[in-house]
């Protein structure tokens, strides 16, 4: 019975969240345009030097190819902030209490946020990929590998969005909600996103090798470079599924038990 309206209510909430994103562009503009700006910054400011470190004499061209997959993960992580803020903001509104007194599919409020953030992620990814291709990103991969890479990015997005929903529910205020997910956008830096892990000092390198973003970055990079993916692919999928499951359960628990303020 509870599931009867799952899809319908989720779609209603999605429409609500899309209107919010449209009317409150402050929240949606940065995740869409920010990563593209960072891509240009890294390629044109640091790219010439960094590229030489990645492939001897590779220069800017080599760095675009190395960086773009890492930038795609940075893009996915960037949406987390928006998700956490909009969830935290929602929880301060009386309308959440109203939703709870209605016969609707309970998690719809949250799934609406998740779907809205996912759409925002896809738009951001499209923008970054378009800019990367314009400035010379050269992927050796065929359509199937692109689909696989995007599939993995969507899995990561779902995991991080649910995690951000939980952060947003857990936050005491909208302000703290906006701080917590920032560390998610740092993780691509502390992994294989921007430079090879092998170039890092021992302690940091250990962290970089074992944190979830590294196997996911490596998998996306190898898929798009038409290289053999290896064990990283399995590790990447396991991380995504595990984070999604844990974050979903945490978020559901918080939503059901938290008093709307």
């Amino acid at each position: 019975m509870t599931g009867t309206y799952a899809l319908r209510d989720s779609m209603t909430m999605l429409r609500r969240n899309l209107r919010h994103l449209q009317r409150y562009p402050g929240l949606s503009l940065f995740p869409v345009l920010g990563p593209a700006v960072f891509l240009l910054l890294f390629v044109y400011v640091f790219g010439g030097t960094l590229g030489n470190g990645i492939t001897t004499g590779g220069g800017r061209g080599a760095y675009i190819n190395f960086l773009t997959p890492g930038m795609l993960l940075f893009t996915v992580a960037g949406v987390a902030n928006t998700t956490a803020i909009s969830v935290a903001k929602d929880m301060t509104e009386g309308i959440i209490a109203r939703f709870k007194t209605m016969r609707i599919w309970r998690p719809a409020v949250l799934t609406g946020h998740v779907l809205g953030s996912l759409i925002l992620t896809l738009i951001s990814l499209a923008v970054v990929i378009a800019v990367a291709l314009l400035i010379g990103y050269d992927s050796a991969a065929g359509p199937l590998r692109w689909v696989a890479a995007l599939g993995l990015l969507v899995m990561l997005a779902i995991a991080l969005i649910w995690l951000s929903v939980a952060f947003g529910l857990n936050a005491k205020s909208v302000e703290t909600a906006s701080n917590i997910p920032l560390f998610l956008t740092l993780l691509p830096f502390l992994g294989s996103g921007f430079v090879p892990v092998a170039s890092m000092p021992a302690g940091l390198r250990w962290f970089a090798e074992n944190q979830p973003f590294t196997p996911i970055t490596d998998t996306v990079r190898r898929l798009l470079a038409n290289q053999h993916v290896g064990g990283a692919g399995i590790t990447a999928i396991v991380w995504c599924v595990a984070i999604t499951a844990a974050a979903y359960l945490w978020a559901r628990h918080l939503y059901n038990w938290r008093e709307a303020r």
Binding site: T12, R15, R19, I95, A97, R98, R103
Partner: protein
């Protein structure tokens, strides 16, 4: 035979729920040992299912509702019944537990103890059936500020799973709540009164059987308050049950068929506004004098205790009849005392409220200090 007894029980049940219920709470005890209120002319035959039948015919019924937050006991055995189609006001000072009670009735909060039925459904066992039947307007506005008024209503219509052709219904509500002009503006631009009206319209879109309004007019200007009152009255006319909380006694007096006063987590009094007022010896004639000498002379003439605080006034208890007033004036005339001002004070819900809710310190009405039996 059996029917008459049940009818009798039903009437008593409406008169005072608590007295009628207590004996049935312990079915083991013999009927003959029951409280005096229950000495029915015929030995009654009743069992729990029949009692349940009468309680499920109520729009809202609560028995022994308790709720604590940590150490703090907020509701300490609340009992109440609301007849279908009536307006019921839960009155109480700040912190009395009104909002907690509404949150429990509206399935937002679970009671620690007690049994609650709303629209014939047990809130613990069938929360979804209850949610289908109710509408709730909380104390704080429950509208989506980034949506327009129309979109807010459409959102509610979608979530109520109403048919897609609800545009007509939305237009009707916008008109009824004077929101037509603002319909396509974002709600963030609305004034307090408009927000409250939109909030109410959103509550009504699914045509709920029972509506909970938690302090519906708090913070509204007098005109918006009148509008909300009119809406509540028209809802009651259409047969909707309205359960409202308020700290405004006038509001309860104006709107409610029955009033219950909640204080310290318990219902301390319940009845029609008229019944409650009759419980309080609040009627008095208030006389003001130019100086202390005049006041003293008047007190002497009428054999009343001389001083009434520092004010140059005297208070004469009255049940409101003209004879008392005439006699008082004649006595003053005979004594040759000039009265500067005269006011007749009939007991209002304020007196009841102050007398029953342990708010005496706030009272500026010395008469109310006489503690009536709650």
């Amino acid at each position: 035979m059996r029917l008459t007894v049940l009818a009798d029980i039903e009437t008593r049940y409406e008169m005072d729920w608590r007295h009628i219920v207590k004996p049935f709470a312990s079915p083991a005890s013999s009927p003959t040992s029951s409280a005096p209120v229950l000495t029915a002319p015929t030995p009654y035959v009743i069992n729990e299912s029949q009692l349940a039948g009468s309680s499920s015919s109520a729009a809202v019924s609560a028995v022994g509702v308790r709720k604590s937050f940590g150490e703090l006991v907020v509701l300490d055995g609340v009992e109440l019944t609301v007849k279908p189609g009536s307006v019921f006001a839960l009155l109480g000072p700040n912190g009395a537990g009104k909002t907690t009670m509404v949150r429990i009735l509206a399935t937002l909060l679970e009671a620690d103890q007690g049994e609650v039925r709303v629209a014939g459904h047990d809130i613990a066992r069938e929360p979804d059936a209850v949610r289908d039947a109710i509408g709730v307007t909380g104390q704080f506005s429950a509208i989506d500020e980034l949506l327009t008024g129309r979109e807010n209503l459409a959102l509610m219509a979608d979530l109520q799973h109403l048919a897609r052709d609800d545009a007509r219904r939305i237009d009707d509500l916008l008109e009824r709540f004077e929101l037509v002009e603002a319909a396509d503006r974002m709600a963030v631009t609305y004034s307090g009164g408009m927000r409250r009206r939109l909030d109410l319209a959103m509550t009504l879109i699914g045509a709920p059987q029972v509506i909970f309004l938690d302090e519906p007019t708090t913070g509204l200007d007098p005109r918006s308050r009148r509008t909300v009152w009119d809406i509540v009255r028209s809802l009651a006319r259409d047969g909707t049950t309205v359960f409202l909380t308020t700290q405004y006694l006038e509001e309860a007096d104006q709107l409610a068929d029955r009033v219950a006063i909640l204080d310290g987590g318990r219902i301390v009094a319940e009845g029609t506004a008229q019944e409650l007022k009759q419980r309080i010896p609040g009627g008095r004639i208030e006389l003001s004098f130019a100086d202390a000498a005049a006041q003293l002379a008047a007190a002497g003439a009428m054999k009343l205790p001389a001083r009434d605080g520092d004010a140059l006034t005297l208070q004469i208890p009255t049940d409101g009849n003209v004879a008392t007033l005439r006699r008082a004036l004649r006595e003053l005339d005979d004594a040759g005392v000039d009265v500067v001002d005269l006011a007749i004070h009939t007991p209002d819900l304020d007196d009841v409220f102050l007398a029953l809710t342990g708010q005496h310190d706030r009272s500026q009405k010395p008469r109310s200090k006489k503690e009536p039996q709650a």
